[in-house]
Symmetry: C2
């Protein structure tokens, strides 16, 4: 069965479309990546997403329009990808779309509206994707897990477990996107032995600083060129490492709420006060990404499991500074790019949503309660199938 996964991460740089060929049922599922295509968002669209996702003032009308606009973007990315791969749309059985996160608050807390209410909002109208492609689409996975008491994240560990569990090797799958998240799969693990959490920032802080430093000319620090010109500021790094999120016990999730614009403003203010060079701030932030990941290993992983292999994915794997610092901080653990398992770094999350959709399509549960904290396993995802029983395939 051919399944497409669509992912658009918190950095809002564009859409990743992954084509997966999947067969079987857990734990005997076999999934291989057959194609990956990235379509960048137009600058203005990215700006609008980031403004709203960062808490900017908006209206219901604007969010509604952005939801439909993103549905259109996603469907066009799918059509472009399939044309490029020369795979006719009718050969695709189902699409899984994560959507674009506009808000995610996994834990209950008092909001300014005055209700104690965890919630999540992913947009990108799946009805538009299904209509324009003619393919049944499953989207908006997180709310079902949250309705069952979970944090609605992380979702990829379910897929990591299906793909990476090994009888004799303890493995950790790490994704360095805007946020860095990992899945711990001890040797011979059952689903309940798997645990997962967000370690803290991935590229979120580094990207925001790079954009500020270059006054918007770049959206990230390519090959860590700028950071490599700077020096780590030990007192700032020590201060960052005292961040209380790092001490919080898993399961836990992070996002712009912790490491978004407000955090970066704080860093810049610190830098101004202490006359720090921008490239020094950037280098320190990159090192903080690596150290916060290593810190999570020491606090929460190594006391509970032996780790033989660290399988890495996500945009952060292209930052040589982050990768070098990570390797140095985790001696004895082999670092393997996820591409070695057939999934290139950038395609990992989109691929995961293809697998989640495949499970939902068959009516099988697709969350991992031990990772999300949900009271029980649920089928996540909302199904849209405009042609219904009348479709001709």
């Amino acid at each position: 069965m051919r399944v497409l996964g669509i992912m658009s991460g918190t950095s809002a740089d564009g859409v990743d479309v992954a084509l997966a060929r999947i067969s079987g049922a857990p734990p005997g599922i076999a999934a291989t990546l057959e194609g990956h295509h990235h379509v960048p968002f137009p600058r203005r669209l990215r700006d609008a997403i980031l403004r709203l996702a960062n808490g900017g003032a908006t209206t219901a009308a604007e969010l509604s329009e952005l939801d439909f606009r993103l549905g259109k973007e996603f469907s066009e990315a799918v059509i472009a990808a399939c044309r490029r791969w020369r795979v006719p749309l009718r050969k695709i059985s189902v699409i899984g779309c994560h959507g674009q996160t506009m808000h995610h608050q996994g834990a209950n807390q008092w909001s300014r509206v005055g209700w104690r209410m965890a919630s999540t909002l992913q947009i990108g109208e799946p009805s538009i994707i299904a209509e324009r492609t003619g393919i049944p689409t499953i989207a908006d996975f997180r709310p079902a897990d949250m309705a069952a008491g979970g944090q609605g994240a992380p979702l990829v560990p379910f897929v990591d477990y299906l793909l990476y569990h090994h009888e004799r090797l303890g493995r950790v799958a790490l994704n360095i996107g805007g946020i860095a998240n990992l899945t711990v799969i001890p040797a011979g693990a059952k689903p309940k032995d798997v645990f997962a959490f967000d370690t803290g920032p991935g590229n979120m802080i580094v990207d925001a600083l790079a954009e500020r430093i270059t006054r918007g000319r770049t959206t990230y620090d390519r090959d860590a060129r700028m950071a490599l010109k700077g020096r780590t500021i030990p007192e700032l790094l020590a201060r960052m490492m005292r961040e209380k999120y790092l001490r919080k016990k898993p399961p836990k999730t992070a996002g712009r709420e912790q490491f978004g614009q407000a955090y970066v403003q704080g860093l810049l203010a610190w830098g101004k006060k202490h006359h720090a060079q921008p490239v020094d701030l950037l280098r320190t932030a990159a090192v903080f990404t690596s150290f916060s990941i290593a810190d999570a290993f020491r606090r929460f992983i190594l006391p509970r499991a032996t780790v033989n292999e660290l399988i890495v994915a996500g945009g952060g794997t292209r930052n040589p500074l982050i990768m070098a610092q990570l390797a140095a901080a985790l001696p004895g653990i082999e670092i393997i790019p996820s591409s070695r398992f057939g999934v290139p770094e950038g395609a990992k999350e989109a691929f995961a949503f293809a697998v989640l959709a495949y499970e939902a399509y068959h009516g099988r549960t697709n969350n991992l309660p031990s990772a999300t904290g949900a009271r029980h396993a649920v089928v996540m995802g909302k199904s849209v199938d405009p042609l219904g029983a009348g479709k001709k395939k």
Copy 2:
């Protein structure tokens, strides 16, 4: 098969839950109402909904929280209703939830974001309803019709056609909610002969004026008591009847965009300038509701079809002034409350969403392209079924 419908209208006064027993397949569908329950929203929740639906400034976080909060309200309304009816939740096969409209713009237009994009936004998280009730839930019907080029409204005509089509009688089904909408079902009609549109305001203007006049002590003019103390202002009525929406050809949809807060502000400003009594404004607005409906008959219905019966539903049927003016303006047409067909006025829309969900559940199309303007029939609705194939019933 027992199906629940959940509706929360543009007036945001609360949730209507309808219990329907449905069998068969179109055109031989049989549906009867077995229960109706209304749960008012807490005042603060209603205020929050109306503020956002009227275009008030908000954030993605607030809308996300309201989405989850409404999912909780809807699920609690379902549980309260079933307890009252003594119907165990496990006897319900599926729930159809319209959700709360926060924005609806059926026709393409330039938005302030700068994209030409029709869109619609209904909230009230169905994953929460499905989780808390254990019943598969279908929600968010409008986007699929819009993705197929339709206006995403009106949806009820599909149900009106199924329930009211008659070989020898021409019928119009009218619902006077916040907005007044109707379905024209000529004698012996096939689906393509049915047409439907919003005539303009229902209670939207009258309710808003009543609330302003009583400084928020009431949310509507009970039994038209206040309006009956006033006199119609002919020059204002004539001015209102020149509203360009009335001349626009069907299919067409109206909402707060045309008759919401801004419109009411305009009326109040007119009243202040001309030293009009508030009760006179209120009476004029009520008469405008009736006259705008009658105007639609003269312009768009009577030239195309013979109408024998007008089947009325919605909160506006409890306003004796609106009903008397309507009867006077439509001589020769028998006015019949929808309750005579087994569906009490207030339950009509909730009941309709039970029928729409029943069709979607069976993978059958449930929009009426002749009413919405869609290019083709589609299965509307997003399905959530957290227990999936593993459910025990």
